[in-house]
């Protein structure tokens, strides 16, 4: 089986500063991988590299069977990144946002409706402006946009931040469902207990490298 993510000695540089210093990581379809590590360890940089937003300086990166160096746009169209921001338009309704992001890949009306349904947004929230939503509802809307965009690899940076307990439970259930449906998910989180229970594998990022359990660089 071809891995969804295959990074081999991947190096990324921000200005003069190496933010990823030789990362080796393989993630298979349907996995939920938790990236843990201290602030500045390189978790967000690793997600941005996988999203094609951070250039690969050295090494090899193959995502969804595409070489990140030569097929970056092909990777981007199949990857969904949800960072600290949701990428939503506050003046548009939930349905309009999901429809817009779905339309960027030519998603049909039933696909958009299915995405809203899966996130529990199809009933009373459809026509509500995003500016009037709670933090949890905005997160769910952003995830519905990823589904409508047919993202195969979900890259989530601190997805639980700002959510209350019930919204976190809902988010976890959503991510488990998505993984069961074939999505591959990489989560960067400080909330080890919660995210650890969700993940099928935990990976430690330290100093821009992946550490194995015995503390050696992978």
């Amino acid at each position: 089986m071809v891995p969804v993510v295959h990074l081999s000695n991947a190096v990324a540089v921000l200005g003069q500063f190496p933010v990823l210093a030789g990362v080796n990581l393989t993630v298979n379809r349907g996995e939920i991988v938790l990236l843990q590590g201290p602030n500045g360890a390189g978790k967000t940089s690793l997600l941005r590299l996988c999203a094609g937003l951070l250039p690969l300086a050295r090494g090899e990166a193959v995502l969804l069977g595409c070489d990140l160096r030569t097929q970056r746009e092909a990777v981007r169209s199949r990857v969904g990144l949800l960072g600290h921001a949701n990428g939503l338009y506050a003046d548009l309704t939930v349905a309009e946002n999901v429809r817009f992001w779905g339309a960027t890949v030519g998603a049909s009306k039933p696909e958009v409706q299915a995405a809203l349904q899966r996130m529990g947004l199809a009933q009373r929230l459809t026509d509500v402006a995003v500016s009037r939503l709670s933090a949890g509802q905005k997160r769910r809307t952003a995830l519905a946009c990823l589904i409508a965009r047919r993202a195969e690899l979900w890259l989530l940076d601190e997805p639980h931040a700002g959510l209350d307990a019930s919204a976190r439970d809902e988010l976890d259930a959503t991510l488990r469902d998505a993984a069961a449906a074939g999505a591959t998910i990489i989560v960067a989180s400080h909330e080890l207990e919660r995210a650890g229970a969700l993940a099928t594998r935990v990976v430690e990022v330290v100093g821009g490298q992946i550490r194995t359990l015995d503390g050696e660089a992978a």
Binding site: L53, S77, A85, G87, A90, T104, G106
Partner: protein
């Protein structure tokens, strides 16, 4: 690319229809600028003579607000990053945002022209209507293209609010000059004839062609930086 352009333009116009920033803020701002010009010049003869230039100056000032607004809605919740991360064609984003900006500018210019007629006693003449229309279309498209390009350039930079006028105003100087001269010819200001206006429209046409091609190609690398 054109499918994405239509999608982006429709989204931007829908956001504008909901937020009503153009109708509630930009249009009143432009009208106030026109009134202030009249106060400052304080002479019917002078105001009437310089009316075409004042209309286009007011358009430029309003353009700065519209461009800031156009990119503020993308940056507010990280949508620019999301568009990049989603691999959305940057040429389509550029053309779509320029189309939406042009539509908003067109509404604004109608209001400014009516203001000029009311406040400055500007007279429209039948023989110059075609030249006036073509001038407004070409200048509007040119301003929208340059505004979008420089809005994208300044959008990811700290201090973008102050940087944008600094970058944009010198670049749109040819549009200001060409549109003003062509409008003067269309209106017959200072005895100008309609025939004198068409070469200026040609200049606007060259400007539009350069920035539509250049902007479509350059916008991707600009928002990547």
């Amino acid at each position: 690319m054109f499918r994405i352009a239509r999608l982006i333009a429709a989204k931007d116009l829908r956001v504008e229809m909901r937020s009503r920033v153009v109708t509630n803020q930009v249009l009143p701002f432009a009208a106030i600028v026109m009134v202030m010009f009249a106060f400052a010049l304080n002479s019917d003869a002078v105001v009437s003579r310089v009316a075409p230039g004042l209309v286009w100056l007011a358009t430029l000032f309003s353009l700065l607000i519209l461009v800031q607004r156009s990119f503020a809605i993308e940056n507010a919740d990280g949508a620019t990053d999301a568009l990049r991360a989603a691999g959305v064609d940057p040429g389509g984003i550029f053309l779509g945002k320029a189309m939406a900006l042009a539509a908003q500018l067109a509404v604004l210019e109608v209001v400014l022209l009516v203001s000029a007629v009311v406040l400055y006693s500007t007279e429209l003449r039948v023989g110059g209507i075609v030249l006036l229309l073509v001038t407004f279309v070409a200048a509007t498209v040119g301003l929208a293209l340059v505004g979008t390009l420089y809005g994208g350039l300044a959008g990811g930079v700290r201090g973008r609010e102050t940087l944008l006028p600094l970058l944009l105003l010198p670049v749109v100087a040819p549009v200001l000059i060409g549109a003003t001269r062509a409008t003067e010819s269309a209106l017959g200001t200072g005895g100008a004839t309609v025939a004198e206006g068409w070469p200026w429209v040609g200049l606007l046409g060259v400007f539009v062609a350069l920035f539509s091609v250049g902007g479509t190609l350059a916008f991707g690398p600009l928002i990547e930086e």
